[in-house]
């Protein structure tokens, strides 16, 4: 059965800290690994990693795909209170399917 597991489930840090969120996947016909940020509403897209693009960076956020370990990490440096959210990891399988993890709930304290 396809599955995506995220850790930790929740995390509380102080502003300025650096955090690393983990995602491991077991899916058939793996195509991509996606990271989303979900605040009160719908998920917003952060990164997509594929076999041809295993590292992405945008500002204070960066992500790496480890195809050997079937995992990915999302790093956030110099965290701010606005980074507080649920971070979702999803694996694209085949041409249509996305399997989501339960997310990591991040809270950044001022």
């Amino acid at each position: 059965e396809d599955k995506v597991v995220q850790s930790p489930l929740s995390l509380v840090v102080h502003e300025g800290d650096t955090v690393t969120l983990n995602c491991s996947y077991e899916v058939t016909n793996f195509r991509s690994l996606l990271w989303y940020k979900q605040e009160k509403k719908a998920p917003t897209f952060l990164f997509m990693l594929t076999s041809s693009g295993i590292e992405k960076k945008s500002g204070r956020l960066s992500s790496i795909l480890d195809k050997k370990e079937l995992s990915s990490i999302l790093n956030i440096t110099a965290t701010q209170t606005g980074d507080s959210a649920i971070y979702l990891c999803a694996s694209g399988s085949g041409t249509y399917k996305y399997i989501f993890g339960t997310g990591t709930r991040l809270k950044v304290l001022a």
């Binding site: 998920p43 917003t44 897209f45 997509m48 979702l88 999803a90 041409t95 399917k97 989501f100």
Partner: protein
């Protein structure tokens, strides 16, 4: 910013009522999806569509139905709402090109409460 819309945003309705949740996107995406998400839980795929007149059930059993008569529109219907249908419903779309899986764009969601 993605152009995908859902209405209503919030709905409280009594048991037994028929409801339709609307989803529209203006990006010309072929693939559209409906997910169900309970608080603190992962997203579960309940329906998806490759294009016009193409709909399939997802991994999570659902008593809802969908239709795809136009590329931009993917409504979800519950013929008889029950309290167990209380949840957040998220619509998403993505491109279909060359067999590749592209990122999904999500609508704002509909939070449904059935009393």
């Amino acid at each position: 910013e993605a152009d995908i819309y859902q209405t209503p945003r919030y709905l409280v309705i009594g048991t037994g009522k028929k409801i339709t949740l609307e989803c529209s996107q203006t990006m010309g995406h072929d693939k559209m999806y409906w997910y169900q998400q309970d608080p603190g839980m992962e997203l579960h795929l309940i329906h998806y569509s490759y294009g016009v007149n193409s709909t399939e059930k997802g991994d999570l059993s659902s008593e809802s139905t969908v239709s795809r008569i136009r590329t931009e529109h993917f409504p979800l219907t519950l013929e008889s709402a029950r309290p167990s249908h209380t949840s957040q419903y998220l619509c998403a779309s993505s491109e279909l090109a060359g067999g590749l899986t592209y990122e999904q764009y999500f609508g704002p969601g509909t939070r449904l409460t059935v009393t």
